[in-house]
Amino acid sequence: MAKKSDLVIRVSGESGEGVISTGDLITLSSSRAGLEVYTFSTFPAEIKGGNAMFEVRLSRDKLFAQGDKVDVFLAFNQEAYDMYIKDLNPENGVLIYDSDAYTPPTVEGRIDYAIPLTSLAKEEVGALITKNIVTIGCLVGLFDLPYDSIKDLIIEKFTRKGEKVVENNLKALDIGRQYCSEKIKKQDPYSIDEGSKTEKCIVVTGCDAIGMGAIVAGCKAYYGYPITPATDVFKFLAKELPKAGGVIMQMEDEIAALAGCVGASYGGVKTLTATSGPGVSLMNEVLGYSSMAELPIVLVDVMRGGPSTGLPTKTEQSDLNCAIHGSHGEGPKIVISAATVDECFYHTIDAFNYAEEYQLPVILLTDGFTGGRKEAFPIPDLEKIKIVDRLRYQNVEDEDYHRYEDTESGISPISFPGDKGGRYTATGLEHTVKAKPAYDPDNRYVMMNKRFRKLQTFLKNVECCKVSGDKDAQIAILAWGSTAGACYEAIERLQNDGKKVKLIVPKILYPFPEEEIGKALEGVTKVVIPELNFTGQFAQLVKAAFSNKVEVVQYNEYLGLPFKPHQIVDKFMEVSQ
């Protein structure tokens, strides 16, 4: 049997049984041991008594997606088994179950390992609470998960709980490991090679990465309102932002949250709020003010299934339209996306930079899938990260300040309260260059053009897309946000199969990067656009710009689940016939 060292492990059991912390421990220690990691988890929609699921994919090679199938499934109880057994790889799939809890039926071709997890913890270790660590020990014994790194992390994690606890947990690890090496006859092909990655990595969720990016970008004020799945950004910053000298406050609702940001922005302070669909719907009016008054803010939308309250714990990419068009009237804004956890970090910094440079609202779209799962990425080199601050008015008392000066770039130098000679009233009314309300057609013409000119300047200055694959492919896949991951893996497979395919991943969604996408589409006759939504929101923009040049094939899923690489491969095969 050929050894297989790209492994997807899923753990599931009662929520609150430590499923998630088990996964977190494996993930961080594996990353530290130089492995690539990619996780996925779901929480019960109901508060308690539901099922929790954690999945981690481990590999020596760069990972872009969750994988197609589960290779190893550890089901703590019958319910977990019933829910997820269908996702286990029919070829060589391994089921591990707690033989103290239940007995699954035997199934032809499936490899089952029965382990008395409960009694090992209770009797051998002497503490039921160590069941999760026993479990990890089993995985080490079975699949060569990095023992030393796990051991170190256990010590690090439990030290503040006292020596006894550390000891117990190390014992649990060893008991699990030993049980499996001794009592279980290994029938599966999986074994994790030693990691090769040498860079030191951080292991965080997408939401954490967004919070981190905000701190790096210089955010000093966060105003928020809890909402699943965006609350994790709030939680991260609640803990960390004060350490970086920033303030954070829970407001009475989402309108107040974004309003608070606009206030801070007027004060010259970089500011963020994160929310999900329902919150974005509520923020539209304030968003328009931010655009009209040219007060930069960053708004993160961790998208979930809509419409309305919809599927609050599931993932979707259906807020793009709302992000671009949600506010009445027409004011410039920038909408960008983050496809991976490291993009959550870097694109948040970009979002702040764009907001500051162009003095407008920037919306960063990510989704529940990316926001909630962990990835490892190399510790960023802060010195290489460019941070942009607003073009400041060089204040001279008695000079006549034109807050909204009609410049070539559309960007007008701004003053902050405290600046002498920079006094002006920010306004949501149409206004003159001196910020006075004005409704006459001539002034209107100038100011609308000035504001939108910023977007032209922006598109000239920024790189909008990542293009990979074959330069001269006739079929391209265009994917934004978390969908890109499955596509990266898919084109790798397709290319390995000798297919010609190009992948276009736009980072900038609005203003629509017509020129760059146009270039990327040169020579392409068909472009497939997979999106986790019903109507093909980005596809419509592509059609408006390019349907006279290339056939646009929409590929929409709206089941609350991320794309899997094989779906993209299948679609490509279908389209290329």
């Binding site: 530290r32 990595c201 951080i202 292991v203 965080v204 954490d208 981190m212 701190i215 790096v216 210089g218 000093k220 004020a221 105003y223 960390e240 932002l241 004060p242 350490k243 970086a244 000298g245 920033g246 303030v247 954070i248 406050m249 407001m251 009475e252 609702d253 309108i255 107040a256 949250a257 309003a259 608070g260 940001c261 606009v262 206030g263 801070a264 007027y266 004060g267 302070v269 500011t271 009016e285 304030v286 003010y289 008054a293 510790i379 960023p380 802060l382 309260p417 405290g418 600046d419 002498k420 920079g422 006094r423 002006y424 009233t425 920010a426 306004t427 949501g428 009314l429 006075k436 309300p437």
Partner: protein, 284 residues
């Protein structure tokens, strides 16, 4: 004596209110109160919502924000918390404050945010040409209530006290001399200071006139102890008469200061890059 005079705060923008509007008197008293505080116009921000009264920021030569209907308070809250060094004064109308902005008003009071909120209360929607506001009297006929408003009016002063504002007052645009000192007292107060100013809309409201307000109001009285919360509460809810004066002026914990204080005590030592680095590395 401050180096500033009324003129220091007056902008060149023409005041566009109707002749006779109560808001003029408030505006003047505000100029005077700013001068008495000796506030640097460069460190002062006047924030408003939308309405006739909310056009006020244009008439100040300070920093200012003319924002959205009902949203002045959360915007000012966000500004104040992020920029504790600024003097922040919020102005607006009764519709702005108590109707669409009612939820924000409640929370600004409760959080006791360190800013001053002055509501120009004309018991009507002025800018949209005459509809009932939450403080309009029952029976009031407007173009959207041609057969008379059915609701009973809100008692905003009572509400502010009940939900936690630490400085609460009411005055009347006809009382030119009383306004300025009350504004100054509010500005000096640490925490959320709120004053409802009865301010006739001479164009659309033919009921709540200068004369009317004079007849239904009376001073809260010299002997009122504005440190006594329960007395303030009772005075504010007295059924038959609108009291004028400062109901409450208490020192209570201020949320924006508290939060800024938490940040101060948690902030790590070092420059931004060092701090950021150590936060990031704690996740590796």
């Amino acid at each position: 004596m401050s180096e500033y005079t009324m003129k220091s705060y007056k902008s060149e923008t023409k005041v566009t209110w109707c002749p006779g509007c109560g808001d003029f008197g408030i505006l003047n008293a505000l100029y005077q109160a700013f001068a008495e505080m000796g506030w640097d116009p460069n460190n002062t921000v006047v924030v408003s919502g939308i309405g006739c009264s909310s056009r006020a920021p244009y008439f100040f030569d300070t920093y200012g924000m003319h924002t959205l209907h009902g949203r002045a308070l959360p915007i000012a809250t966000g500004l104040k918390l992020a920029r504790q060094d600024l003097n922040v004064v919020v102005l607006g109308g009764d519709g702005d404050a108590y109707s669409i902005g009612g939820g924000h008003f409640l929370h600004a009071c409760r959080k006791n945010i360190n800013l001053t909120y002055i509501v120009m209360d004309n018991n009507i929607y002025g800018l949209t040409k005459g509809q009932a506001s939450p403080t309009s009297d029952t029976g009031f006929e407007t173009n959207t209530t041609p057969y008379g408003t059915v609701e009973k009016p809100l008692n905003p002063v009572g509400m502010a006290l009940s939900v936690g504002a630490s400085f609460v007052g009411r005055t009347f645009a006809g009382k030119i001399k009383e306004m300025k000192p009350m504004f100054v007292e509010a500005f000096k107060h640490k925490g959320f200071s709120y004053i409802d100013v009865l301010s006739p809309c001479v164009t659309f409201n033919k009921e709540n006139t200068f004369k009317f307000y004079k007849s239904v109001s009376e001073p809260i009285g010299e002997d009122h102890d504005c440190k006594d919360y329960m007395k303030a509460l009772v005075a504010a809810h007295e059924p038959d008469c609108m009291k004028l004066g400062v109901f409450l002026n208490q020192d209570l914990p201020v949320t924006d200061e508290g939060i800024a204080g938490q940040t101060k005590s948690l902030a790590m030592v070092g420059n931004d890059a060092e701090i950021t680095k150590s936060i990031i590395e704690s996740y590796s």
